[in-house]
């Protein structure tokens, strides 16, 4: 398993300079190889030419003396030739007679006259005219036959020091390494800064996309648009078009939600009117009874009790409506009573559909949380559950507190919450508002409220119906006081 991340995962600002450096190194290696190969070839060609020039001069000068077997003249030529040929650093030159003995050598101490040429040395030279190069020891060995009228009268054997050529080679290698290394680093740096500069618009785009994810959909300002390349300009334009569309849609959704709210209010108001109207008939009868049987204390007492119960019911409904829609309650606190009022608001819904409401409020004390928002969330989910449940079905609501969080679970026996509707609640990110035609505005509003309170919602599909669990963080006591 590699310790390094896969190459595609690396940032472009790193990848491009690395790629440039790798390409430069590859190019440098190839070019260096070509240059060196060419250099070696040229040096060998030049060495051959120089060696031939050297041998041409030497053989022409030495030939008459060799024909005469003149030791001194031969030595004189070899001795004078030393250092006379630029580019050829002869370590020694030997004139070998056909019988293999030395006529004379530039270094007579090492190669005395009329002594045989050492076999070990002889093996380094070609048996014909030519050049043997050994880079490892920095030497070249030249052979040039001396002929007169078609007869061989001897040959010149010379050892050339090619250390200077090898030194030039190593200098060229060093220069290539330094220059190419510097170029690779320079181009990599240029690549890094160029790519970094070119990718700046992506950073801007990324920032604005992140803002959109957080709920602040803003178009990218025109000042950025002017500075970027055309590709990014088009991208910015499309982003801005999208941002405007999202913004328009949200405005519309808010508007729709408001309308929905009023529609729901209307439904609640009619339900409330119904709830108020029901006891009113009985109560009117009770008043009539009191008027006609005022002398009967028992009838009077029963009628007054009936009136009292009727008025208490009306009072509960009115109070719940007041709390829910008039506001005025403390937004930093949720009392258990505020939740307990909710069944009164859905009394009409449950009554009409003959639903059984299993209401369990286990919140023992006021909680540091936005009360109206929690009531709105719970009411919406409850109304949704009532609407989803079949006639005569059961709806259960359970509110509890655990581990610093308020947990509200609403379950129904409906056909199950569709996936896209559930996503309105459970999605972590911001979700576009549903269109006017589609349903789900209530759930979308609820989802937004849950997110506003930094809560999460989970939708559990059960054998029959759905269970929605909303978990909302509750501020600690200390934090609440601080706030």
């Amino acid at each position: 398993m590699s310790r390094f991340p896969r190459l595609p995962a690396w940032p472009l600002t790193l990848k491009v300079p690395l790629l440039v450096a790798a390409l430069m190194i590859a190019v440098a290696v190839i070019i260096s190889q070509i240059v060196l190969t060419r250099l070696v070839k040229d040096q060998e060609t030049n060495l051959t030419l120089l060696a031939n020039a050297y041998l041409d001069g030497l053989s022409a000068a030495v030939l008459p003396a060799v024909i005469r077997g003149d030791v001194w003249e031969t030595f004189d030529v070899l001795d004078r030739a030393r250092g006379q040929y630029s580019g050829v650093e002869a370590r020694y030159a030997i004139v070998e007679l056909p019988d293999g003995s030395v006529l004379a050598a530039s270094d007579p101490t090492s190669f005395p006259i009329h002594s045989p040429v050492p076999a070990e040395l002889r093996s380094k030279f070609l048996n014909k005219d030519g050049l043997v190069i050994n880079d490892d020891v920095g030497r070249a060995w030249l052979t040039r036959g001396l002929r007169a009228e078609g007869f061989s009268v001897g040959q010149i054997l010379a050892e050339i020091d090619i250390a200077s050529l090898l030194r030039i080679r190593s200098q060229v290698v060093l220069t290539l390494i330094l220059v190419n290394g510097a170029l690779a680093i320079a181009f990599s740096l240029i690549g890094y800064f160029a790519v970094k500069h070119m990718l700046q618009p992506l950073g801007v785009l990324s920032r604005y996309v992140e803002r959109a994810r957080e709920g602040r959909v803003e178009p990218i300002p025109e000042r950025y648009r002017k500075k970027v390349a055309s590709e990014f300009g088009q991208l910015f334009d499309r982003f801005n078009a999208m941002a405007r569309a999202v913004s328009d849609r949200e405005t519309l959704a808010s508007h729709l939600a408001e309308q929905d709210k009023y529609a729901m209010l209307g439904r609640l108001a009619s339900g409330m009117a119904h709830e108020v109207n029901n006891p009113l008939g009985g109560m009117m009868n009770a008043i009539d009874t009191i008027q006609s049987h005022s002398e009967d204390p028992e009838v009077l007492s029963k009628s007054l009790d009936f009136l009292k119960r009727g008025l208490a019911g009306i009072r509960n409904v009115v109070r719940a409506a007041l709390v829910t829609y008039k506001g005025g309650s403390d937004t930093s606190l949720l009392t258990p009573t505020e939740l307990d009022d909710l069944p009164f608001l859905v009394q009409h819904e449950t009554g009409v559909r003959r639903l059984r409401l299993d209401w369990r409020n286990r919140v023992p004390e006021p909680l540091a949380i936005d009360g109206p928002a929690v009531r709105q969330i719970t009411l919406n989910l409850l109304l949704n559950a009532c609407a989803a449940s079949p006639f005569g079905g059961a709806v259960a609501v359970e509110a509890s507190r655990s581990d610093g969080a308020l947990r509200i679970a609403v379950s129904d026996e409906g056909p199950g919450l569709p996936q896209d509707m559930a996503a309105l609640l459970t999605s972590a990110g911001r979700i576009a508002a549903p269109s006017r035609e589609s349903k789900g505005l209530g759930l979308w509003t609820t989802g937004n409220l849950i997110k506003r309170l930094n809560g999460v919602a989970a939708v559990e599909r059960r054998e029959t119906g759905t269970r929605i669990v909303v978990t909302l963080p509750v501020k600690t006591e200390a934090a609440r006081h601080a706030a």
Binding site: D70, V71, W72, F75, D76, D79, A104, D107, P108, T109, P112, I113, H114
Partner: protein
Amino acid sequence: MIPAVSRRSILLGTAAASVSSILPAAGASEGFNFGLTPLFLDNDIELLAMVGRYLTKRLERPIALIKRRTYHEISAMLLSGQLDAAWICDDPYVQYQDKLALLAVPLYRHKPLYQTYVIVNDSNSAQSFDDIRGTVHAFSDPDSTSGYLVTRWMLALRQTTPALFFRDSFFTYGHRNVIRAVGAGLAQSGSIDGYVWEVMTEREPELVRRTRIVFKSEWLGFPPIVTPMVIRDMPAVKALGRGAARHAYRSARSKNSERVGARRIHYRNAGYVREH
């Protein structure tokens, strides 16, 4: 008349003599051909040029300084009348004494004498002439007394020859070349003019330092300046001899000579010239 003179001053002196109007027509009606053997150092091109210019100016006629590779060539040219005068080795003079007339003899260290040296490479262990047996030997010239004859005589005394005594031998045709050959190790021993070796110790000490003297001969007559016997009485030749002596005396002490020679070493050898 015993003017102080060096060998080189003699050369200059030949030109200094105002002999242009009395030079014989024979051999050099237009100019004067003066022969030089390899005793004159091969590599002294600068001095040779100066001598040539000086003689030409003094004689008011072209002076040709004739150099040849071997002593024999100069001797042959002299005998065949191609040269008016020459500075030759004493051996050819003795050989052709009946055909050559002596004009002057340079003095070396106040005497008309010099020695033969036998030298060895400095790395050689030889200490005497007999120690050089079995070495490769470098001779100067077959017609040179110091460069060949003396060594042959030494070997003859030992009833042997170079081929038997030495492992190998060759001629270099120049005393300086003998030093080069022995110094470089081409030869382990060599026969040389003592005068040349001494001069070279000061002129090219690096070269001479690689050689060492193992034998010095008895004193020999110094190489003379000669003219063909047939023109010995020609006024020009006689005047040349006198002029050489006279001018040599003056030039040895003149600033001009100091300037031309510019090599004080040669004046250290100042001696006498005897007119023949």
